[in-house]
Symmetry: D3
Subunit: 261 residues, 6 copies
């Protein structure tokens, strides 16, 4: 996998280049992460590190013949109240929604007509969706939202990432092996975590103290390895790249003249 | 299908009966609906009417040997900004979240330790989930949230209800046939609605004006009929009843002594 | 008393009929209720049930030669923090105000230029008034607000409804006798409830714990009977019908062309 | 009428004297005013000036044998959006409510257990009432709220003050004659102002632009005179003094030990 | 020092005179104060009394040949949570910001294009600055903000006012000697107050309980005297007058035609 | 200058290590940045990049014998409404305050008793200060806030960084020369920018459109060079390191037992 030099990092470019890209119809991409406990062995920034890795790998796959992308710095803090029992830096749902509202309105005012939020933390999922839906009501834009594991592609179904288990540990071993400690032994909680294995498929269940009861991870990280992680990353980057391309094609008519300055 | 006389309607009972039920461990059930355009032929209250019908049918199926239920009056207004282009009575996402926060806190203070939100409008989905997750962080309770079509049961998968098409029209023909007008002819929009058929599976896409562009319905109501509706209702009630029973069993330990008055 | 078939129930009609009525100048009517303790014998939904009964009876009296009305489903939850000591499902004042703001803005966007809020719970009174005053500043509409007992008519003064006593019990015996239990004996609290019998006429007094101290009712329900209730209902419906007619006449010039869609 | 030297002005005393008074059971009194157009002849601060005059005169009548009072500086800004068409310095309803919430919480934290809000502007009425009711739910205190014209006493009924007409002009001629200009001729608007003469007694009506249509005053100031103003002031001060005394007696048991510092 | 009769007191003038001044380009001046403990000897309203004195003295110095000023009544309550340990009537930062936002928007709607906030309490400093910056983004106006001791003039540097010490006691002895009690003996706290003498110049330090630990004053009031106070007042009024004149000259082009009514 | 390997990056460590550090009394350090126009030649993330560089350099200077530090990922978005005329990703002041409130509360709940906010964007200054002051009222902690240029040390005064001129350009040439474009010629605006050169020292002036009028930079970047930048960075890092050490010593008693989990 080669990373694309051509991707525009919003924080690394002067404003005229950023604004010009928006006015040409570039898609702004905002990764949304978290800082929260990830069991004994993964760092608190795992979600942020992984969503950045997937976004950058997807941009690399798209390369120069894909849609023009402007990649924002990741929001490193998300909605993690359920991890405060251990340690987290968490925004409330209303604060996170306000942050995304403000960021999207700013991008629109700066000339963008198409924005994607790519999320790396399950706890952000509802807020990220609300943000794009609200913004599309306020102003004439097209927006997309996904969590990097919810996308399905040919030959690669959506993933259930769990938390601090096999999936995330494998991915982090692939992209930041130096940050991974040895995983503690894991035992299936009895009964299983209500938030992870709902007693009724399709029913979201939230019980006070449940994350603490089950020890902060959803499955065993013992089987994780870097090779699997590289494979997972390639697959996730592939479906995200495909989704970006599809979003670009479906909303190509959305980038009319930018708002008057 | 027979309706259970024993279900406790919160609005129809004196407070001591309601409070005693909560303290005994009864599950409070709050249906959440909407008032919004449902094409030319369905009434604006469709989502509210249907979620009430499914909840009451599920309660009937559970009968006297199921978990004790206290059914609240449905919240008749939901989050429908995307239907204001035609007509809707819509709460903003933050208003709806405040309503649900207040209602859940009230139920907890009134002695309930278990609450289910059953949603009837896709636009409420994120807010309903956020509300139960937030509440479970604030206080020692167990909560569940679902949209009545997202539950899967044995022999009955989750449904994609669409909006004002075959699914909802069939259901309403089953429960309130007098409120259904003749459906207008429907044409598949070209391109299809981005919010309904995402260009990338798993990517939520929101584009300004998209609901108006496609005419306010997602699929053809022409094939709907009451018999199908009765079958859909029975199936939805069945999986909801099973979910309530499973929630009851999984959270049976959650109803300790009620909060001190 | 006959009920008018012609009244338009917003939740039971397709959006085009609702919108067309608004654009013709119909008056939207939103009943606002509560769920809260009503002593040992009345159901928690008393205020909602009664305001719906009065509104529907008034609509019946107006019949086909009165102003066109579009009746919304009642908001079943109100501002009842003072009843949480027993049981209530209460919205905070700011949440209730947000709900009414959103509902009024929605109606305006859907084409209405005239709206009435008819309130059934004393605790909602200030918020209901604020909502109509605020809305009339934001947009070019005419609005009215009342609690169903505050209207005075020829031969019928305003009523002091109290709470869970003679007035409400009589009314509920008239409209939902099946929901009324035997009233517990009532004793005049000593000293009387500060919120009910102010030590200084015109001074609103609020003291912590006062509702609990006096037992949750303001007067004796022992004398209540259904015949009195029918008479009270007829009178309240009569003055509300007259008020609606007067509002219609006074604001007839307010329904200009609807807002552009 | 002599003014009482003994009244404690919160802004003019060191904190220990203020706090000690609160802990002894003194009643804190907060006048709430406005800055808004009062026709051609009265100053924008009329409501603030008058409520201060009435409060200080009532305190003078009570003298040293009345309940101990701690008088706060008046809040000079109120809720006046309906006067912004001409000129006003107006707080939104939610801002005013936040100010009163914060002020009441501060007083409670500073040791007060009894507080009175005395209002001078009709537009503040709902918010002032909400503030005392909310505070009494949050904490163990007794509070009262009135507008200075709504109190009724023996031989003196409540007043309908109108706006910038006979009542307010007479009062201001009594207390600040130097601030009164010659009143412009006044003509009864046709139809009369909906907010002042409701088409249905007991129905609050708000119509966009109504204050501007009727010219900003409710009745003729031409008959106002200082002698009448002095008489009105004496009467209003008398009923307020009586109300304060009655509030003191009715809530005497409310001043337990102050909150721990 | 003579006070200028020509200064327009917003609360003492009819609205047309106020509005006309704004439309002519007058500068509106809003003093912002507080009610909070000021040690044993100064009244709770010290900051409000002093900022009013400085503003009025500056207006007097400017006289009739200075820029036209419209002086609002001072906001008597500020952001003083750090003084609630003793006694204060404090608005939260968000409440105070809402008050200032609303006041500034009102002034703009009433025709003003230039506004100055003059602050008398250090705890308000950040909010006052935010308010003017926010308002200048929302609308086409020019605004200024200062605390009366932060201005520097020729021959007179900015002052570090401390709290309830030499500076404020001297000033209050000059303007309201009747409100000053004998100061209690003062001892330098060891270690010194972190908020007053930062361990690192330029670092703002806030520690819980620090104000209570050091006794509520920052320095010794024992050396204060009225003569010094008169000198400080004259100097502060002089630099404020100069700042107003400079603001007027720098923003003279900002008062275009007023907003349409 | 050597960078300290021992500094704990919160995002790169498992939660137990982070929590243990907080409980041992480590100082959490949160850099706060922005994304906003920085003239033609500097990238939008300049403030974030520079505050990170200064913080990391200071940590390096402190090394292993300084106070233990836990460095959070920088908040990459700040309060930049005044730069939206060109391009920015800006949070409103209330959103930014909510973010910082939530982050500080999270850190406290995770066991920290000492936190420093180090700011890199002048527009954040008021909010950063408010956040630490508010937090110290809510809970028993010690906090500090600075902008990296406001600290003064021996032999190095505070700096006036300007915007996109000599100071910032020199610094960025030192730390990220690859991100610096050639600066456009700069002309002193006439009159000078009101926000940069106040007409009255100590008066904050905000005028609509002023940033656009002066072209988005405050001074000439033409003289900037990397050598100067290295010297500025060393000096800024030195005074920040000294400030951290002084904060540590002054608040050493603040890290009592951590909050119960």
């Amino acid at each position: 996998m080669t990373y694309c030099e051509a991707v525009i990092r919003l924080d690394q470019r002067p404003w005229r280049e950023v604004r010009a890209a928006g006015e040409r119809g570039a898609v702004a991409v905002l990764p949304v992460g978290s800082q929260e406990q990830h069991s004994e062995h993964l760092p608190m920034g795992t979600d942020t590190l992984l969503v950045e890795a997937v976004v950058d790998a997807a941009a690399g796959l798209l390369g120069d013949d894909g849609p023009e992308l402007v990649r924002l710095p990741a929001l490193p803090f998300g909605h993690s109240p359920h991890h405060l029992f251990a340690a987290a830096v968490s925004l409330s749902a209303t604060t996170l929604l306000a942050v995304l509202d403000d960021a999207l309105d700013s991008l629109v005012r700066s000339g963008f007509r198409r924005v994607l939020l790519v999320n790396g933390h399950a706890g952000n999922d509802e807020v990220v969706r609300l943000a794009v839906k609200r913004c599309a009501e306020r102003t004439d834009v097209a927006l997309g939202a996904c969590s990097y594991w919810t996308l399905a592609g040919p030959g690669e179904p959506p993933q259930s990432p769990g938390h601090a288990g096999w999936f995330e540990t494998s991915l982090l071993l692939a992209v930041h092996p130096d940050l991974v400690r040895a995983a503690a032994p894991w035992r299936e909680p009895d009964p299983p975590a209500l938030f992870h294995r709902s007693p009724a498929p399709g029913l979201v269940v939230a019980r006070h103290g449940e994350w603490e009861r089950v020890g902060g991870a959803t499955d065993d990280a013992g089987d994780a390895d870097a090779e699997t992680g590289r494979s997972l990353l390639a697959a996730r980057a592939g479906v995200l790249a495909a989704a970006i391309r599809a979003f670009d094609e479906a909303t190509a008519g959305s980038h009319g003249p930018a708002a008057p300055r």
